[in-house]
């Protein structure tokens, strides 16, 4: 009896199927995890692309740019000279809003900021990593339009990040800037279409503005 028990099979025959299934499952789980990771880092959840950022004041670019026709540089004053495009001081807002919409409920934070001298804490929408150096002025002066990176910002009630800001997106243009360039004077135009083939124009501008396809690490990681 004891002998019989000792020589009994350790596993039931169904274990054959179960073990094969578990091996297949393990492979699939690992593959699914890797695929999940692959899609996660590119998803808007991780990059912030297409996600509207709430602001202390519901400022609408659509209204101010498209409907009123205010130029980008009216508020983002340093975009042509410095790395940072510039966020307007409360005084810039008040230049108009001490005359129009003076009692609007929505503008109370602006007036409060004006009274107290405490700046409005706008929330950053395009937040580049600290190790990536970016300079607005060089892009604008070499014919890269605002809308090239910021999307159709003149149609956005509240601003969202139109692009992923992942490195391959930067590199796409840095490797081949032709076709994404405009004449310098048209950079701030919101509705602009080239009169000729954009690649043809791009090639001419690359030549004219002395643009190099810069993909060295140290171009951005200084």
């Amino acid at each position: 009896m004891a002998d019989e028990r000792q020589h009994r099979q350790v596993f039931h025959p169904s274990m054959n199927a179960i073990s094969r299934f578990s091996i297949a499952l393990a492979v699939m789980v690992v593959a699914a995890l890797l695929a999940g990771l692959y899609f996660y880092v590119r998803s808007p959840y991780a990059t912030g692309q297409n996600i509207v950022v709430d602001q202390p004041v519901a400022f609408s670019h659509r209204h101010h740019v498209s409907q009123l026709g205010i130029d980008c540089r009216y508020c983002h004053t340093s975009v042509e000279e410095s790395a940072f495009a510039g966020i307007p001081a409360t005084e810039v807002c008040m230049g108009c809003h001490s005359h129009v919409w003076t009692d609007a409920e929505e503008l109370e934070p602006v007036r409060e900021s004006y009274r107290t001298g405490e700046p409005i804490t706008w929330r950053r929408v395009h937040n580049l990593a600290g190790f990536a150096y970016f300079d607005h002025s060089v892009h604008v002066n070499k014919g890269v339009a605002c809308t090239e990176c910021h999307g159709e910002i003149h149609r956005m009630p509240l601003v969202w990040q139109a692009e992923s800001l992942l490195m391959p997106w930067c590199l796409d243009c840095h490797r081949e800037p032709e076709g994404r360039l405009r004449p310098r004077e048209d950079v701030f135009e919101t509705e602009w279409t080239p009169d000729e083939d954009p690649r043809e124009l791009g090639r001419r501008l690359v030549d004219e503005y002395d643009i190099e396809a810069r993909t060295d690490c140290s171009t951005c990681h200084r």
Binding site: V10, S19, R42, L166, M167, P168, L171
Partner: protein
């Protein structure tokens, strides 16, 4: 697989049958651990804890806790990496190349040395990661479709290392495991406790010992051996490129790949002897690991030791023959500079000490074997120390010269890596058959029935 020659000395003591082989080897993991195992495991485990403490401190503070400084930016971590990877090579040589060359004496030590290889790789692969500075980003070394759209620098030998080591680790693991399957089935059938039965049973992958199982097993084993054989040469060649590709005098040399490979097998066999000598005594395995095995290992020590010594000679010769000021100074500084004691110690340990193995008497004299193996292991560590530290500490610019001082944490990490190695080894000896039961039964069969195969 084994084809003993009539004139060959026996590689297994006569009088062993299938049952007695299974009993002598298979009973070790199933019975109580001897006291020496407990003591050894306790020491290994304590050192492993030391490693964990060192690594936690390293991760919280950074590589500044080590003695590395420019110009000596590669310190103990890289020395230990080369040292441990080298140790592993003896296992691969024994299991793959000696198998393909029909050397029956490899049978009884192959399982054990393959395990040694795996654990040496485990200890080795820690160090490049610890040395990274930002170890949590280690996966940047692996080419994967990353969201930054960039690949690792394929022109860098450090990336080649990643390929060499991961290939080596994967193949060693699979080879070792495939070899274990029939033995795991034997263990499953011998185990009395249900938990052990199930554990060995799961790992045995349903092995029943049918003729078809054996046929496929043998085909797979030889194919894997053929795949593993080039690794004996390639892995340490790639490791040597870490140095040889750089232009530092003392590193930039074409002798490095063969010299590193010979050094790896040299230190590996020293480690094999250091481990096998006490083990065969404690577990009464002298019937399987005979003096003939020690004799052959000693011969390999002698041969690889001479190749390594040729490497030392050729380095010195080419330093002179190059007529290059910096190269000549490096060699002069190596022999007579601040680190000269290390250099002369490695010459004494790696070149002079193995010369006793010209004599058969010393090849079979266990205390001599053990002592020389220890010296060789120490000598090979010194060799890597001299290559890494001495070459770096005085290169082209005297303004950048600087002495290297190992810190407390350098030493604890090094000792801790021995803890990892020995803990894994003791666990292996405790849980798995450390000599291949199936192959020893085959060998015993040939021994009884003569050389038909």
């Amino acid at each position: 697989m084994a084809r003993p020659d009539e004139n060959e000395p026996p590689v297994i003591e006569p009088g062993h049958g299938d049952a007695s082989v299974t009993d002598a080897i298979g009973s070790i993991p199933l019975s109580k651990a001897p006291k020496s195992w407990l003591i050894g495991f306790a020491i290994g485990f304590a050192l492993l804890m030391l490693l964990i403490v060192s690594v936690i401190y390293l991760f919280s503070v950074g590589v500044g806790i080590w003695g590395i400084q420019v110009p000596v930016a590669w310190g103990f971590a890289i020395i230990a990496f080369v040292f441990w990877i080298g140790i592993g090579h003896a296992g691969t040589l024994i299991s793959a190349i000696l198998l393909l060359m029909y050397q029956p004496w490899r049978t009884s030590i192959s399982r054990f040395t393959e395990a040694m290889t795996l654990f040496a790789i485990a200890a080795a692969s820690l160090f490049p990661v610890l040395h990274l500075g930002r170890p949590w980003l280690f996966y940047w070394l692996i080419p994967y479709p990353s969201a930054i759209g960039a690949w690792p620098q394929f022109r860098s030998p450090l990336v080649w290392d990643v390929f060499a080591i991961t290939t080596y680790a994967t193949l060693s693991l699979v080879f070792w495991y495939i070899g274990l399957v029939p033995d795991l089935a034997s263990m499953r059938d011998r185990a009395k406790r249900p938990l052990a039965k199930i554990a060995y049973g799961v790992m045995a992958l349903g092995w029943r010992g049918s003729a078809r199982h054996w046929h496929r097993y043998q085909v797979a084993y030889v194919i894997l051996a053929a795949l593993a054989a080039p690794l004996v040469v390639s892995v340490h060649s790639v490791v040597s490129f870490d140095f040889a590709v750089a232009i530092v005098p003392g590193w930039h040399s074409t002798i490095f790949p063969p010299y590193f490979v010979a050094g790896a097998i040299f230190s590996g066999f020293a480690m094999v002897l250091i481990l096998v000598i006490p083990i065969r005594r404690i577990y009464k395995l002298k019937a399987f690991i005979t003096d003939h095995h020690l004799d052959n290992s000693a011969k390999i020590l002698l041969v690889t030791g001479l190749i390594v010594s040729y490497g030392y000679f050729s380095e010195a010769f080419y330093a002179w023959y190059s007529a290059d000021e910096y190269h000549r100074y490096m060699m002069y500084n190596r022999a007579f500079g601040d680190y000269a004691p290390y250099f002369w110690a490695l010459i004494a340990f790696n070149f002079l000490a193995p010369q006793v193995f010209w004599f058969r008497r010393y090849r079979r004299h266990v205390p001599t074997l053990f002592a020389v193996s220890l010296l060789v292991l120490l000598g090979m560590w010194y060799e890597r120390f001299v290559i890494v530290v001495q070459s770096l500490h005085r290169d082209y610019m005297p303004s950048a010269w600087r002495f290297y001082d190992a810190t407390f944490w350098d030493w604890t990490t090094l000792l801790g890596s021995f803890g990892l190695f020995f803990t894994l080894l003791f666990v292996f000896v405790r849980l798995l058959p450390m000599v291949s039961i199936a192959e020893m039964r085959e060998l015993a069969h040939h021994e009884r029935e003569g050389g038909h195969s």
